[in-house]
């Protein structure tokens, strides 16, 4: 018989037992028959035969061990036994598995997100050697900036040519591109000619871009596309001769949209989709093909600079060089606000999503880890309680010869079953949660792309989590069980409770502490989100819809105003107006202002608006008047300012009628409006002036419409606009509510997750408390019975049962609050107007916890109070 048949026998043990038994039975029967022939009675013969045989069980067991693999057999049997035991108490088992599964699922989801976004290196040659340049923001506390203008980039690139190969990439931009007769919205990225070569990307077809393509402005209409784009378009090699059409939108209100036609000269290697994890780029175009103004306007920041230091150059040397070059540059361009350039590692690629979400993701990971600890201690609790109930069984097994190693093995297998099932469930859960979270990471309309597949790292981590969950869960009861002395247990019956309780208390305290930490931090994030979502922006948060109109200004002023009137007459429209762009939509226009007669000067934000804008948006007019038609004339100099502007330039004075200089134009203030947020929702509104929007030249404008049910009439209005003026194209329709929601993506995500994790934590604590208290009552049944027989009242009994756990919970709460404060500090930068010491943030977790504990404690305590003393004592 080979090793293989021994293996098979492990799973055929029933048949094996049967065979062995039959073989020996045959022997016994034959022997008994012989004795019968010699004259014994059947009973005597059978007895004599057995005596001759000797120890039948020993023989059978030994044979059995010979015929299969004993170690495997014991594991299989323990597994079967363990699952039977688990099924005996389905609720407890389900609770344990569910809590572990949730915690493991959360951990896995957090890890795969972090891996995809932060840890995984770029699919390029030697990603460790890549760097990118940043500079400290001029706003304190804000993250580092990484956009540069072209002149500075050129200067840096040329100065460091010997030491560092620098290249610039633009932000990925969505564009509608037409290939042949199909149009698709993809992301394009403008890059330096040698960018792809420095990255070490290879081409799958044709060639890559090179330095020649990037030499002269507008003279290399070429592009390379991604592998997936090529596959989507058929995957034929003839893509190399095809042409890509798209429209480069104009960058200012004064220039055209440019139509571009590029030739595809190559396809990039499979798997490369840009340097930014989370954003899929499908086409790369030489920098020189970008808008011409980008190279002349000094403060147009549109490039990110990455590079690869040459092998003999250290990071410090590179940094020193960049700093020198910056200082030289500032000699010629004193207006540049950058004071320092940092050289950072780009092994994982610079990423917009990562910048915004790095910290929240780590917080997510920490909270998920805490949940795992809570769940683990929960399950340990449950198993300890159960193992205590099975002590007699354990004692019995020990007394008939099971080694303590076998006991430990059996308990470990049982908890391994739990952990295994929880892991499986957890992975399923993570697969569902991961994409859901990712789909909320980027604003609606942009598809985030993160490779969240189960890779080796995730599998390894999952195995690690599963193993540690098992250890956490199984080790404590296993060691405790193996150290029992069988005699004591069998003698004392169910009196052995004191040692167990000593173990439960720290577990419960730990559970409570972790839960309080989770609740505390979650409470902070929820509060912060609540504040943000009810924040006064200075204008209406809802009931407004924006239409991006292309080509409006080409039609000229009268046609534009006519369209506006048409829209205003549309049923259900309450008000309408134009603006150059929507507020809080990532556009800005800053100019220098000076007061005539004064030497100081300031900066202000500007927005071009039509008459009626303030009314439409709900920005209150405080003094003076709104724009009128006459202010739209070419020589009119009316301007409306906000309070912040008035405060900073004309403190304490009435501003209507005053004049100031903006970039050489003399403007007169005709109205004062309330502050409104401009670029950042979390910052105080900046000084802003509103100038009349003149529909002239080639430009776009945004039509702002206020209506009670903006969402419903938006498509109807779009039709109406097309009908009213077919030459004006509505390129985008955005609801104000969507716009603001997109700004709060991160905070909403955190609030959602906090709420979810908080509930899970509370649930786990409830399960744990219930389990512990139940167990305690059961163990002390005899004691309670005696007390009640001696005259104790129900409430005294309840107090007895609860007081023990109350101290533990109190300790846990204190520890949890301390932990919460620590985590709270880490979280502070994400919070909006919420401080960790805030009374509400402390109260909320405490109340939640107490409520839950009370609720969970009710059934066991009721049971305790209703104990019939006689029955309790008779239980022995």
């Amino acid at each position: 018989m080979s090793w293989f048949s021994r293996l098979a026998n492990v799973f055929r043990s029933d048949r094996l037992n049967h065979d062995l038994e039959n073989e020996i039975r045959f022997h016994l029967d034959s022997r008994a028959a012989e004795f019968g022939r010699r004259g014994m009675t059947p009973a005597e013969a059978a007895r004599a035969a057995r005596r001759r045989l000797g120890n039948e069980s020993l023989a059978r067991e030994t044979s059995r061990d010979v015929k299969l693999l004993p170690w495997l057999d014991s594991i299989v049997r323990d597994t079967r036994y363990g699952s039977r035991m688990l099924c005996k108490s389905p609720i407890v088992t389900a609770a344990a598995i569910l809590s572990l599964a949730l915690a493991i699922g959360a951990c896995t989801a957090a890890y795969s997100l972090i891996d995809a976004l932060i840890l995984r290196p770029l699919p390029v040659r030697d990603p460790e050697g890549l760097v990118y340049l940043t500079y400290p923001s001029d706003r304190p506390g804000a993250p580092e900036g990484d956009s540069f203008n072209y002149p500075l980039f050129e200067r840096l690139r040329d100065a460091s040519r010997e030491k560092v190969e620098l290249f610039g990439v633009s932000w990925p931009r969505p564009r509608d591109v037409t290939l042949g007769n199909s149009t698709e919205k993809i992301r394009v990225q403008f890059v330096s000619g040698d960018a792809l070569a420095i990255l070490g990307v290879k081409s799958a077809l044709g060639r890559l871009l090179n330095a020649e393509d990037d030499r002269y402005l507008g003279e290399s209409p070429v592009a390379v596309v991604s592998y997936e784009f090529w596959m989507r378009k058929g995957g034929h090699p003839d893509i190399l001769s095809q042409l890509l059409d798209y429209i480069e939108p104009s960058s200012t209100t004064r220039t055209n949209n440019t139509k571009r036609r590029l030739q595809i000269v190559g396809v990039v290697q499979r798997g490369f989709t840009g340097v930014e994890p989370g954003v899929k780029v499908d086409a790369w175009i030489p920098n020189m093909m970008f808008s011409p103004e980008a190279f002349t306007i000094a403060d147009w920041e549109w490039l990110r600079i990455l590079g690869r230091p040459k092998s003999h150059v250290t990071r410090e040397q590179a940094q020193h060089l960049m700093q020198q070059t910056l200082l030289d540059y500032r000699h010629d361009h004193p207006r540049d606000f950058r004071k320092q350039i940092n050289v950072r590692s780009a092994a994982n690629g610079p990423s917009v999503i990562r910048k915004a979400f790095e910290r929240p993701l780590w917080i997510l990971a920490i909270v998920a880890g805490l949940l795992l600890l809570i769940a683990g201690s929960n399950v340990a609790n449950l198993l300890v309680a159960r193992s205590a109930a099975r002590e007699q069984e354990m004692a019995l097994r020990l007394s008939i010869g099971a080694g303590s190693r076998r006991l430990v093995q059996q308990l470990l297998i049982e908890s391994g079953l739990l952990a295994g099932m929880a892991c499986l469930l957890g992975v399923g859960f993570a697969h569902a949660v991961g994409p859901a979270v990712v789909s909320r990471l980027l604003p609606t309309g942009e598809s985030a792309y993160l490779d969240l597949g189960l890779n080796w790292r995730a599998l390894g981590l999952l195995a690690l989590i599963g193993a540690s969950a098992t250890a956490l869960v199984g080790l404590i009861p296993a060691f405790r069980s193996s150290s029992v002395s069988p005699g004591d247990v069998l003698k004392a019956g169910s009196n052995r409770h004191s040692t167990r309780r000593g173990l439960l208390r720290p577990l419960v305290a730990a559970q409570v502490a972790f839960s309080v930490t989770v609740l505390f931090t979650g409470g902070l994030l929820l509060l912060s989100f609540q504040k943000l979502s009810t924040l006064d922006l200075g204008f209406f948060r809802s009931g407004i819809v924006f239409f991006d109109l292309d080509g409006l200004c080409e039609r000229g002023q009268p046609a534009a105003l006519q369209l506006l009137d048409r829209v205003r007459q549309f049923p259900e429209v309450q008000a309408a107006a134009y603006s150059a762009w929507a507020l809080l939509n990532d556009n800005q226009w800053i100019s220098k202002v000076k007061i005539p007669g004064r030497t100081d000067s300031g900066q202000t934000y500007q927005l071009g608006v039509s008459p009626g804008f303030f009314d439409t948006m709900g920005i209150r007019l405080l003094e003076g008047r709104d724009f009128a038609r006459r202010d739209l004339g070419p020589n009119a100099s009316a301007v409306v300012v906000n309070e912040a502007f008035a405060r900073s330039l004309f403190p304490g004075q009435s501003v209507v009628g005053k004049q100031f200089d903006r970039d050489g134009d003399l403007l007169e203030i005709v109205g004062l409006v309330r502050d409104a947020k401009y670029l950042e929702i979390r910052e105080t509104p900046p000084a802003t002036i509103y100038v009349p929007l003149r529909a002239q030249g080639d430009g776009d404008a945004v039509l702002t419409v206020r209506a009670a049910d903006a969402g419903r009439i938006a498509p109807l209005l779009r039709q109406e606009i097309l009908r009213a003026d077919p030459s004006v194209k509505v390129s985008r329709v955005t609801l104000q509510t969507t716009l603001i929601d997109n700004l709060l993506v991160r905070d909403r995500l955190l609030a959602m997750l906090s709420g979810f994790f908080g509930m899970v934590a509370l649930l786990l604590v409830a399960i744990g408390s219930y389990g512990v208290l139940s167990y305690s009552v059961v163990q002390r049944t005899r004691e309670i019975g005696i007390r009640m027989a001696l005259g104790a009242r129900a409430f005294q009994v309840i107090r007895l049962v609860i007081s023990e756990i109350a101290v533990t919970v109190a300790l846990g709460v204190v520890a949890g609050l301390a932990g919460g404060f620590v985590l709270g500090h880490y979280v502070t930068s994400l919070l909006f107007e919420v401080k960790p010491g805030h009374a509400a943030t402390v109260l909320f977790p405490l109340l939640g916890l107490m409520l839950v504990c009370l609720f969970a404690a009710l059934p066991p305590t009721l049971r305790a109070s209703r104990l019939n003393p006689v029955a309790a004592l008779r239980q022995e």
Partner: protein, 109 residues
């Protein structure tokens, strides 16, 4: 009192010899054969035969199969294999050598 240790040690030898001479036998048959030949001197715990048989089966020295006896009972019958024969020659040789040596010492001591 029956020197069961020596029987245990010699069981493989005895069993192999018996079934090599007598052909395939079941466990009970082997037991009665040993009793017959040794006149009840080597009857120890009969049960210990079976683990020995199974060990030999695992090692490939014997092969076993279920047969139906004349009494219409199912019995497991063991037959020696080629490897078993080789093993038998080896063990037997060693045993005889040991016995001879011991005998020598007893004679001359």
């Amino acid at each position: 009192m029956n020197g069961s240790d020596s029987v245990q040690g010699a069981l493989p030898l005895l069993v192999l010899k018996i079934i090599s001479r007598r052909g395939p036998l079941h466990g009970y048959g082997i037991t009665t054969r040993i009793e017959e030949i040794s006149e009840e001197m080597l009857s120890g715990e009969e049960g210990s035969l079976y683990p020995a048989l199974h060990r030999m089966e695992e090692s490939g020295w014997v092969s076993a199969k279920w047969v139906i006896t004349e009494n219409k009972r199912r019995a497991r019958v063991y037959e020696i294999t080629a490897a078993g024969r080789k093993q038998l020659k080896e063990i037997e040789g060693r045993w005889r050598a040991v016995t001879a040596a011991v005998g020598q010492v007893l004679q001359r001591a």
